[in-house]
């Protein structure tokens, strides 16, 4: 039952990623694309966690944590760039 659920949830997350990709290409403004990227990295953490459950291994935890941290920092840096035209003041 569990393996079936993991596959089902993975399909849901992949559909979510495709919708994000659509917004990334279609988004009328830079801020929309930024929001799509931000959502995409959270969804990819979800995929990695699901892979860990599927393979029954906790090794993927560090990768998920790294993506979470780098994703937040990159969102903050891009926001600053759009706000000020400069990242490091």
């Amino acid at each position: 039952m569990l393996s079936l659920t993991v596959i089902l949830v993975s399909i849901m997350v992949v559909i979510a990623l495709i919708l994000n990709l659509w917004r990334l290409f279609a988004g009328p403004d830079l801020a929309d694309r930024l929001l799509a990227l931000d959502t995409m990295y959270i969804n990819s953490i979800a995929l990695i966690i699901l892979l860990g459950i599927w393979l029954g291994s906790t090794l993927y935890f560090e990768a998920a944590l790294l993506i979470a941290m780098l994703g937040f920092v990159s969102t903050a840096a891009l926001c600053k760039y759009l706000l000020r035209g400069d990242i490091i003041e």
């Binding site: 659920t5 089902l8 849901m12 559909i15 994000n20 959270i42 979800a46 706000l83």
Partner: protein
Amino acid sequence: MNFILELVVSVFLLVGGIFILVGSIGLMRLPDFFMRLHAPTKATTLGMGGLLIASMILFTLREPGHISVHELLITLFLFITAPVSAHMMAKTALHQKLKMISRTRGQALVEPASQQMAPSGETVESGKS
């Protein structure tokens, strides 16, 4: 016992997956940026919480004596950073004066908000612009 464990984990996984999907559908469906911002920041973060709790329960109860709580770290990190990045993106959008759909109330506040000023006088209710 094993069946109940799988059932609980499956329910958490499904709830998480549904919320992640709802977040992205909102991102695709809602009409303007400020409304789009609501779906990913709330629904997707809660969905991740569901997935990570499922992973935590599974790896803790699968083999006795082995406790797996480090997923808590990602959950906490996401719950702390999600509102911060949402705030920064809203700030960016206000600064760039992105359009809101016309029935948004209080659009007169965009001007003072983008310059970090206090609203002049009381909050003005000027819906149509």
